[in-house]
Symmetry: C2
Subunit: 200 residues, 2 copies
């Protein structure tokens, strides 16, 4: 979460999002308050409420922010080789460079509230659709270039996201640090078996 | 959830568990109260509290009850053929005969609380271990009989449970009824590719 070095952070929305990120990691979803976000932000609760009416509005914006972060990370992937590109996408989805356990816990709490909060479910559906679209695009590209078998790219993308979501849930519920590495291996096995297998 | 025909339900614990099941499906986790469970049970809250001190105790017992239900269902699987047995296990884990959406929602809420409630996390870990053990046993049996490739059975079981948990989460978060069928297909593809592929 280091700021890009080329420009100072001066956008209040982005500062509040970074403060929310820190507060969620520290306190979790159930104990998250506007007051705690304001403390991380270094300003008053009024300053936060000036931008976001309710905690739910703020958290909806936070989910948009996380997707934006993911998009930025993905745009850094410069290779156009489909196999390498798919590997790097799966790395970003399943390899955890920092200690994000508390964020994953807070995210699962928000996910479990999706059936009750439209602002959450809309974001989760949109995020999922975006990532599936990225996976499908690289798979279609590989099929076109003849390096991947002629599979149902949409189904393959859904399978990979099922593995990703399973790993995210299991990391939180089972408190097992090997879960993400196991799932990364499972995703590789699936890709090798379904996309790369010689018999097509 | 039909009662076994050979004996009437007379165990109060089991009756309370069935009442909890109905109350969870109707009201969800957040709105579940001992009062609502008592209403489903057809007795007073005192009658429920006589058996369970707190809602958390009751829900911990409910998780044990669900695992018991799953064990009973699994013991009905009579085949000893490893490939058929694995198929039937995956059917039980991923094919949803009734409309269980509300139960899945309540379960995901409980799962998201595992990091905060030891009584929940213990049960979820124990459930997962039990089901992985069942999967591993049938995979090992298939390897021994020469019908499955000589894979790491523990890893294969973990992969299958990652797909199962991913499907459970996605069904709730994305409100997409195809999720379980997609995951069932993904699990089959994985089994075919990894366990049954000719080259081993």
């Amino acid at each position: 979460m280091a700021d890009p070095p080329e420009r100072p952070v001066s956008d209040p929305d982005e500062e509040i999002m970074r403060a929310t990120y820190r507060a969620l990691r520290e306190y979790g979803y159930a104990d998250l308050t506007i007051k705690r976000i304001a403390e991380e932000y270094g300003k008053t609760t009024a300053a936060v409420h000036y931008h976001y009416d309710t905690k739910e509005d703020l958290l909806a914006a936070f989910l948009d922010f996380l997707l934006g972060q993911f998009r930025d990370a993905v745009h850094e992937v410069e290779t156009t080789d489909p196999e390498q590109r798919l590997t790097l996408l799966l790395d970003k989805l399943l390899v955890d460079p920092e200690d994000h356990q508390n964020l994953l816990i807070a995210m699962l709490e928000m996910r479990s509230q999706a059936p009750y909060k439209d602002t959450f479910s809309e974001r989760f559906e949109q995020n999922d659709e975006y990532i599936r679209y990225m996976l499908k695009t690289v798979i279609d590209q590989g099929i076109e270039e003849g390096v991947f078998n002629d599979v149902d790219a949409e189904h393959t993308a859904r399978t990979l996201m099922t593995i990703v979501d399973g790993a995210r849930t299991r990391t939180v519920v089972l408190d097992d640090t090997d879960v993400l590495a196991t799932a990364r291996e499972s995703a590789d096995e699936y890709v090798t078996a379904v996309l790369l297998r010689e018999d097509g």
